[in-house]
Amino acid sequence: MSAAGRDDFFELDGQRVPLQPGDTILRAAARAGLDIPHLCWHPDVSASASCRLCTVLADDRPVAACVAPAVAGQKVECRTASLDTQRLRLLQMLFVEGNHFCPGCEKSGHCLLQAQAERAGMTDLHFEALNPERPVDASHPDVLFEPNRCILCQLCVRASDEMDGKHVFAIGGHGIATRLLIDSPSGRLGDSALSVDDRAAHICPVGALLPKRVGFAVPIGERPFDTEDTRG
């Protein structure tokens, strides 16, 4: 091992970040209060490394910070001009892939995709909209499934598997036709074992899985991401 001190830190955009055994770059940064933009990572479930928003340069190599082990002495760059552009483009890709209409979405102001896009300074779609046809599933009495907003982050899959022990969700298809599957005879949420009390019903970072009948309980303008400081 190298000199004392160096073993316990890595450098993120010039700041020393303490690390613990088994840390990923993102987890260590989060503990230190440093933000690495992400969508599909959640501290309570295993990582899927799917959104790629947390891509950083670790010793000049692009890695997903949510799964890349933090290495003592490593130089990690997150806020570079090219990575900022890359993140913006990834967000725009997610926007054109689905059908995201923020003004009409109950999640607006709570939505991590919207917040990351605002922080990234996104003002247009940049790419052509793919306009997929995805029927809404309102069959569940307490939870709405709006696949048009799904970004395939897998958080609901993992929460149902790892925290609820129910395996309500799975990933199906491939390529651009990849989609969220629901484990039920009809394939609809209403016939599944999902309960509104499940973690999986609340972990969605966007408005794809929404508890019903709580719309606008918090008024627009007073939601977590509505404040000026989160807009960057």
Partner: protein, 603 residues
């Protein structure tokens, strides 16, 4: 779902002892009996394996060879590599469809047959080819063969009754060096090798400087040593025979003509790393090789080369099983391959841990290419120094090239690494080549000005494909074809690959006037450059990272082909306003001229 389907699934499930890790095999074998996989049947299989229906549906929906919608009793898939197209596959597909009265992707109303396309079947030197029921291949298609095929399909003649000549697959060896000259199946010699100390076997491979032949070129000995040193009582050796890179067919020939050498190499690797379990992951397109490979394994068991005390070495228990893939290029990536071996969607794993640390069922696992194992068999007999003496300082040994496209003599050519592209072109008879796609779509498109370069890890690395394009070919269309391939084969996990490969296809389609109403402009080319940068900037696996290689190379070397297609001075949206009204026309049932917008004709 009928009782026959349930009974079919029941038989297959019993044969695999309800092992959820065999899910891909169970689905494949069940579908071979039921033609397609209805949802209730998937639910039945899920219950028997202790999985959820959604998990099984997710696996079935991942592999291109599993059909979750009704399919014909005979399924005909035209190999859709660019080399098949250059040999006229699209016209033959259209001809067959016209005769049968179905469209590509459709099933006959009477349920007799379905016709569609599939990714490269590895028969580029004897194409156009097609795959029948994922079980037979028909080579050397021409109009008369297609007409006869149509008659047989309409008459519902089972494929077993079709002319045997149609199924002929040639090895097509044009130039043999050590690997293709072969190794006599010599049981006593292998036993002698296996009696050496495992570390000595490993040191021999280290001395040979053998690097993996699957594309990445990782030193084989380093992989083996890491596996050997990883903690755990059980280890695995996997032969990657998922030869999915379009234009590559060398592993097909090694498996059909030199299977003993491949199994020798696997056995040596198992002895070196201390593995008990071996797998061959055979791509679904090569399913027709399964009976002969199983026969070779059975003979080797009878010879004592596999099983308990393999090769007569006390305590060395090792056997090999064959798993057949189901049409997923990404499963050539070693961690995706292991996921598939475990019965899951072939999504590349998060690494670390690497397969040498935690692979199949968490066991330290070595995954090497067919050609790598074949080389190991030779190295084990003749020594590492001998192999190291072939090729260049950084690239030892020989390499087999699958040559196809515009040349007089397609087939397999084996040379020492370091051989120039020009030499191979001369030998295969391609005096008018303007470009060669070395290593397949994920490799490099090399223009004529660079034919003096050598195929070696330090110059132009290759996984084995060598597709030749003469001056009559449009490299833009080649790149567009490869872009479609990558979009089709993306596993869908990570955003840049899932969305980016689709956006590349759409942009290229726009330039080709194959989508939308707008003409291409310099703006569209700029967007393509940007997508290329994005996909090279951090995808989950090598598929996404290399998906834009053909785009990047052809933009660099054949930029004129793109510029010619960007005829608009300014950006034009690809929205086709008239097409946007199609749903309104459908709803109102109108087809008259008044229901159409008067749009400018595109050139």
């Amino acid at each position: 779902m009928n009782d026959a389907a349930l009974a079919a699934a029941g038989t297959v499930l019993a044969r695999w002892r309800q092992d959820p890790h065999a899910l891909v095999q169970i689905l494949r074998e069940t579908q071979a009996l039921t033609h397609w996989l209805p949802r209730p049947l998937l639910a039945h299989i899920a219950r028997a394996l202790g999985l959820t229906s959604a998990q099984v549906e997710g696996v079935a929906g991942f592999y291109r060879f599993f059909h979750t919608r009704p399919s014909g009793r005979v399924r005909v898939l035209f190999s859709d590599n660019i080399t098949d197209r250059m040999l006229g596959s699209e016209a033959l597909l259209a001809r067959l469809c016209a005769r049968l009265g179905v469209a590509p992707g459709e099933t006959d109303a009477a349920g007799r047959f379905s016709v569609d396309r599939c990714s490269c079947t590895g028969l580029c030197d004897q194409g156009p080819a097609l795959l029948v029921d994922h079980h037979h291949v028909v080579t050397r298609l021409d109009a008369s063969r297609v007409d006869a095929l149509a008659d047989l399909l309409l008459a519902e003649a089972p494929p077993d009754a079709w002319p045997a000549e149609w199924f002929r697959v040639d090895d097509g060896v044009q130039r043999a060096d050590v690997l293709l000259q072969g190794l006599a199946a010599d049981a006593p010699a292998l036993a002698g090798v296996l009696r050496r100390a495992p570390q000595a076997l490993l040191d021999d491979v280290a001395q040979s400087r053998l690097r993996g032949r699957g594309g990445a070129g990782f030193p084989a000995a380093r992989k083996w040593q890491a596996c050997r040193d990883a903690p755990g009582p059980l280890r695995c050796v996997v032969c990657n025979a998922d030869e999915g890179e379009p234009g590559t067919f060398k592993d097909r020939v090694l498996l059909s003509a030199h299977a003993d050498a491949v199994f020798d190499g696997m056995t040596v690797a198992a002895r070196a790393v201390g593995a008990q379990q071996g797998f061959v992951y055979l791509r679904g397109e090569y399913r027709y090789l399964l009976p002969q490979l199983e026969a070779v394994l059975a003979r080797r068991r009878a010879q004592g080369l596999l099983g308990r005390d393999a090769g007569g070495v006390a305590g060395f228990d090792f056997d090999i099983a064959i798993h057949v893939g189901a049409g997923a290029y990404v499963c050539g990536e070693e961690s995706a391959l292991i996921e598939s071996l475990e019965g899951r969607r072939g999504t590349p794993r998060i690494r670390p841990p690497f397969p040498v640390q935690a692979g199949y069922l968490g066991r330290p696992t070595v995954v090497n290419n067919v050609e790598t194992f074949c080389a190991v068999a030779h190295i084990a007999r003749r020594g590492g120094a001998w192999w190291a003496g072939i090729g260049t300082a950084e690239s030892s040994g020989t390499k087999i090239h699958s040559v196809s496209g515009d040349c007089a003599r397609p087939g397999l050519y084996e040379y020492p690494l370091g051989t120039t592209i020009a030499r191979i072109l001369e030998d295969c008879g391609a005096p008018r080549a303007q470009a060669v796609q070395v290593g397949g779509p994920s490799g490099a498109c090399v223009p004529a000005s660079e034919f003096g370069r050598a195929i070696a890890f330090e110059d132009v690395p290759s996984a084995g494909a060598f597709m030749v394009f003469d001056g009559s070919r449009d490299l833009f269309e080649v790149a567009r074809h490869f872009a479609r391939f990558f979009a089709h084969e993306s596993c869908g996990l990570c955003t840049p690959c899932r969305v980016g490969t689709e956006l590349v296809v759409r942009r290229l389609d726009k330039l080709a006037h194959a989508r939308g109403a707008g003409r291409g402009s310099a703006f569209d080319i700029e967007r393509l450059h940007e997508l290329d940068t994005l996909l090279h900037g951090g995808t989950h696996c090598g598929l996404g990272a290399s998906a834009c290689n053909p785009l990047r190379d052809t933009l660099a070397h054949f930029g004129r082909a793109y510029v010619q297609r960007s005829t608009a001075d300014h950006f034009e949206p690809d929205v086709d306003l008239d097409a946007e009204l199609s749903s309104a026309r459908r709803v109102t049932g109108r087809t008259d001229a008044g229901a159409h917008l008067h749009t400018e004709q595109t050139p």
